[in-house]
Symmetry: C2
């Protein structure tokens, strides 16, 4: 990630050194290698769990994007530079916008292709999304998301809510991140509890309690009583629920101690306990799952389990992995496709680690071996050595110039390439580990670097968590 | 790829079955698996040759995109839906557009990050690009490109032109495509030849000869004589060059037989012969490289080697892989970064094969094993079996329902999942290959499917070429 620079145009007409665009982060090659390894882990875990890859187009009809009213201000709309008059009349029915998440496009994809899909349908999707928001750390105008969802037709079994949590627990068990804490709640539990308390404006109260961090206990109580007609007792009851956190062993008891009963509460609590139990074995020093009954994702379309995830030391960027169960996002009026899913914010997770230098690659290139070039005339022979190594999966370059060997070794050093190969005048070969300067005879048909050097490795600086 | 459909809105208000948007192709899961395997091969070959991955943001300043005048009409511009007045004034200096290729963004990335890169810099880039063109087969509004480029500072050695051809020869040797024919030429060769003929308007003549396919020999001759002031002899000389095709053994002799001499001609011819020689060993039944002296890419910024590639039976979609050497695309006024690169049109290559059903995956999911569920109470035990298989890299799902085994087997069949795992009442396990119905005892800690079944396989119907 390029640091901000004061320098800009150098005054040479329209040819000048370009500068970054705020909110559109790009990575340097070593950072991109880390991002690729993170994406490889995501893909591998998702596929091991039987999720099929889907990519959707970058654009959706604007009217689809605006169905969720609260995001309308953030949408980028598209226009052809040489659009004709009809196209430019601002007709929303044909206007296109860039998608702002991967859930709305996926719901559309399911409706459009339902006849070609098998349900329950398990898909993952890793793509950029765009929002015209004011950029800050953790909020970008272009950002990569990695989503998994399971959708079924008409009904969706609750065990899939457990399963989505297990998939992300597997993911976090393998990603090179500071410790993360996944917070789980269940909107049925909240709704049942509120109804048990006699609260009528359930949705509105959820939205108020969701602001607890911002407006505090007194603010929530005041808004519930003054604006939503709740009693002080109901307001304090709602706050008491939001203060509960716990694990599978303690959560049911803590909720029961509040003395509220309702069938929806029992139903939601049972699912919550299942999610906690289903991920208990996957907890580690760097990954914890807790019930946090303050989590509601109040402005979203969730109807059951809800997830948020925070990274230790980086709580200020917000939740890096959020989702939940949605019963009616995808419907064509005849058939409804309920689903459950979760979305990892890849850019939101990695950008703060990159900008602090806490996550780096051992080299800035895939190349493991540089074949040194004794003279330009021997380029074909050196290319043959490179081909032999590549055929056995060893990333290899031939030196760009037949300069002095010292200069060729520096070419490798600057990129972190660990090995330099030296063809000998007698037709034999030597390979040198330029870190130790150890050099030995080698055969291009059989030599291989140690496994640890075959590909660049991601290195995490442990200081990350203490940042 | 969804076929065109007559059906559209079902009249249920704004909730209706969505339909595809012309020019924005999307793939069904089995097609996406094929695309992923193609992208995996591209990445693997590019990395084996030491190219580092770069991703650039989807947007560039509009003024950057419009520096190549001829593509201006195809650019999509962006606007925030709730843009303020200043933003909406149409100021091109701050306006953003979607990139229409990966070369212009890469040239900008090199200038912006030159201080952080090592030169010669080798990068690959696999991303979508967007053009507001009228869609047809082979021409899309959103399409995936896979580019490799090598750029150096101030000067770039000619052997990199050979190297780029070798990389793509390696790629085509591994892609599951109908036979392809890569056509190579060299603009120095053409320029030198034209100058040797006494032609002054070299660029203009290249553009006219580039239209040979469309306007014919007589049209080229007429345009050269009438519009460009060439002599009939010069026009026929230019046409004679454009008719030459050949390989490394014959091309120099054929050019020499035309009796034209010029230092640039010799220089370009030497590079062309090197490219042909450097790829001769990589030719096969399905991949050929030929010199085709009619190829000029007349409207582009190339200054040396130029490439085009056509797929047998699909010549009508145009070149699927084009590129060449460019000496002055990236310059900040002080330093120039000459480069050579090539771009494979992934969407243009795959879409015609998908729409004809000629390239498919053996299943529509990564899942290799479905663990059958004897009863919902045994879900945790079945999940433990799935976890054990996943830990050894075997993609596994647990059956979504504890329905009759026949129904669970059909769940696997419909997705092409080859194996169903049956936990037995006595705690032992059986696994069935549902294609052969062979069933045997198995241990979740050690059983593995045959390598061929571990992942979905891409199948190409050989009829492709004869389409």
């Amino acid at each position: 990630m390029r640091r901000s620079r004061g320098e800009g145009c150098d005054g040479a007409g329209d040819v000048s050194k370009p500068t970054p665009i705020s909110g559109f982060p790009e990575w340097l090659p070593a950072e991109r290698i880390v991002e690729q390894q993170v994406l490889d882990i995501l893909r591998e875990v998702f596929e091991l769990h039987g999720f099929a890859s889907v990519q959707t187009r970058a654009v959706e009809p604007l009217e689809q994007l605006l169905r969720k009213g609260e995001t309308s201000k953030e949408v980028y709309t598209l226009r052809r530079l040489q659009a004709d008059a009809a196209e430019d009349s601002g007709d929303q029915a044909s206007a296109l916008g860039l998608h702002f998440d991967l859930t709305v496009p996926f719901a559309r994809y399911v409706l459009e292709n339902a006849g070609h899909l098998q349900f329950p349908f398990r898909r993952y999707q890793i793509q950029p999304a765009w929002r015209g928001e004011r950029p800050q750390e953790g909020r970008y105008r272009e950002f990569v998301q990695a989503d998994v969802d399971i959708v079924d037709r008409d009904t969706l079994s609750v065990h899939h809510e457990v399963e989505i949590a297990q998939v992300m627990a597997d993911v976090f068990g393998r990603l090179p991140l500071p410790p993360v804490r996944m917070q789980v709640n269940n909107r049925r539990l909240i709704e049942g509890y509120y109804r048990g308390l006699g609260i009528v404006e359930v949705e509105a109260v959820m939205r108020v309690v969701d602001k607890l961090d911002k407006i505090g206990r007194a603010g929530v109580e005041k808004a519930m009583v003054d604006d939503l007609g709740a009693s002080t007792e109901q307001a304090r009851g709602a706050l008491a629920l939001a203060e509960i956190t716990g694990d599978h062993a303690t959560i049911a008891e803590q909720v029961a101690a509040l003395g509220v009963t309702h069938p929806l509460l029992d139903e939601g609590l049972a699912v919550l306990v299942s999610v906690l139990e289903g991920t208990a074995a996957l907890r580690s020093d760097t990954f914890t799952v807790v019930a946090d009954l303050a989590i509601a994702r109040g402005l979203d379309y969730y109807t059951g389990t809800v997830f948020e995830t925070r990274m230790q030391g980086f709580e200020h960027v917000g939740s890096i992995c959020s989702g939940g169960r949605y019963d009616s996002l995808a419907t064509d009026g005849r058939t409804t496709y309920p689903g459950v899913g979760i979305s990892l914010g890849v850019t939101r997770t990695l950008a703060p680690l990159f900008s602090r230098g806490l996550l780096t690659a051992s080299r800035s290139t895939p190349t493991a071996v540089l074949v040194a070039l004794p003279s330009e005339e021997e380029r074909a022979a050196c290319t043959a050595v490179a081909s032999a190594l590549r055929r056995r999966g060893i990333a290899t370059e031939v030196s760009p110039t037949a300069s002095k060997y010292g200069k060729q070794i520096r070419y490798a050093e600057r990129r972190g390439i660990p090995f330099v190969w030296f063809p000998q005048p007698d037709g034999s070969h030597q390979v040198r580990d330029i870190r130790s300067a150890e050099q030995a005879a080698a055969d291009p048909a059989s030599w291989a670097p140690p496994d640890a050097d075959l590909r660049p490795a991601t290195t995490r600086t442990a200081a990350a968590a203490a940042d």
